[in-house]
Subunit: 213 residues, 2 copies
C-alpha cells in the first residue's frame, strides 16, 4: 500500500461511531475466534506508536486450561480483596458487578512490556521511562478498536495481582504486565458503558476536563 | 445515535490504513487549527476507555508564548542531556534527528492524569494503580487517530522534565504528565516512521512478539 489513503468525512464519522460503540466487554458468547483472526488483531496492534520505535509489547496467548484456572483464581482473590474496600450501598453494588469475562472468553491475551528491550536505544525514555509502558497501552488500544470493527469484543481486566500472574505464566522478570485481555464475541452491543448502566459511575462532559494556560 | 453502526469490511480496511499512516509528526505547517477543530478532537479523546469510568484525563491547552517558550527550553535542556547518553555514530545520528515540532506546531496540548480523582471510586485500581495513567494514554491514542483521519498530525514529546513542566504551567501536585502533544497540519504524509527513515531503528515483525502459554 503505497497510495496515500483518503480519509473522507464518511470515514471520520464512522471512526467516531467506533469510539462511541467500543465497550469494555465482560459478557461473551462461547463462539470461538479463529487463530487467524487473533493474529490479524495482533498485526493491527503491532502498528501502534512506540517510543523510539521500541515496540516493547509482548503478546502472550494464554491457552491451556491449567493456566487459565490460575488466572481466574488470581482475579477472584484480587476481586474479593477489592470488595472489602467498599461498604454500604457501594459494596452491595460492587458485589453485583460482573467485572470480567475470564470464564467465557474464548481468547485470553496477556500483554506485557519488555522493560529490558534495547530496541529504540533508549530514545525518548530518559526523563519519562514510563513511555515504554505507555507504548504498550497504545498497542492494546489499536487491537481493541480493530476488534470492535470486526464485531469482536475486548475486556481489559486489571483486578489482578501482576506479580502472581507473572509467576503463574513463567514470565521474564524484565517484563511488566500492562493488560490482561478477554477477547471474544460480545453477548450484546451497547453504546452505554456497563458501569454507567449499572449505576456505578456516570460520564463527565468534556468542558470540565479542558484547561488553558 | 441509537442505531448500531455497521462496520463493514471497507471500514475495517480503512481503519487499518489509518493505523498504518498514523505518524509521530515533528514537521508542521504554520496553518492554524481552529478552536472548534481542537474541541472536536478533545471530544473524541473523551470517548476513551477509562478504569472504573474515571475519565482521569485533563487537557491543558498551552496558548501563551511565554509558557511555550518555557516548554521549548525544557525540551532543549532534556534533549541536550539525552544526547550525552550516546557516543560515536549514534550520537551523531541523534544530534541530526528532529525530535519535536514545538516551535512550529500551532497547538500545544499537555495531557495530565488526575491521580486524585474520586471518579470511578477506585474500581480496578487496587492492584494496578497505573491503570489511571493508562486510561489517559488511551485518550491520547483516540485523539491521535481522529486527528490523522482529519489530516491533522500529532507528535508526542517525551523528552521533557515533567516536574519542571508542572511548575511552569502551574499544575496541581496531584496531576501527572502523561503526554505533551504538538498538533498541526503535517508538512508531509508518510507511511514509514521518521525514525525508520532516519536509520535510528527498524520495525520488528509480529512473529517475534507473540508467545504462548
Amino acid at each position: 500500500m503505497t497510495v496515500k489513503p483518503d480519509f473522507d468525512s464518511d470515514f471520520q464519522d464512522k471512526l467516531s461511531d467506533l469510539f462511541k460503540w467500543r465497550r469494555d466487554v465482560r459478557h461473551f458468547l462461547p463462539d470461538p475466534i479463529s487463530p487467524e483472526e487473533v493474529l490479524e488483531l495482533l498485526e493491527e496492534a503491532n502498528l501502534a506508536p512506540s517510543v523510539g520505535l521500541s515496540q516493547p509489547w509482548r503478546f502472550v496467548l494464554v491457552e491451556t486450561q491449567e493456566k487459565r484456572q490460575k488466572v481466574i483464581a488470581n482475579f477472584e482473590n484480587a476481586n474479593s480483596h477489592a470488595l472489602n474496600d467498599y461498604s454500604g450501598d457501594k459494596a452491595k453494588l460492587y458485589s453485583q458487578l460482573k467485572l470480567a469475562g475470564l470464564k467465557e472468553a474464548p481468547v485470553h491475551l496477556a500483554v506485557f512490556c519488555d522493560e529490558g528491550t534495547e530496541k529504540g536505544a533508549g530514545l525518548g525514555r530518559r526523563t519519562m521511562p514510563e513511555m515504554l509502558r505507555y507504548s504498550v497501552v497504545t498497542s492494546i488500544q489499536l487491537l481493541w478498536l480493530a476488534a470492535r470493527a470486526k464485531g469482536i469484543g475486548v475486556g481489559w481486566v486489571s483486578i489482578m495481582d501482576p506479580e502472581k500472574l507473572k509467576q503463574d505464566l513463567a514470565i521474564s522478570e524484565e517484563w511488566q504486565l500492562v493488560g490482561y485481555l478477554c477477547v471474544g464475541k460480545p453477548k450484546q452491543e451497547e453504546i452505554t458503558p456497563e458501569l454507567e448502566r449499572a449505576g456505578w459511575e456516570s460520564r463527565e462532559e468534556l468542558e470540565k476536563l479542558v484547561f488553558r494556560r
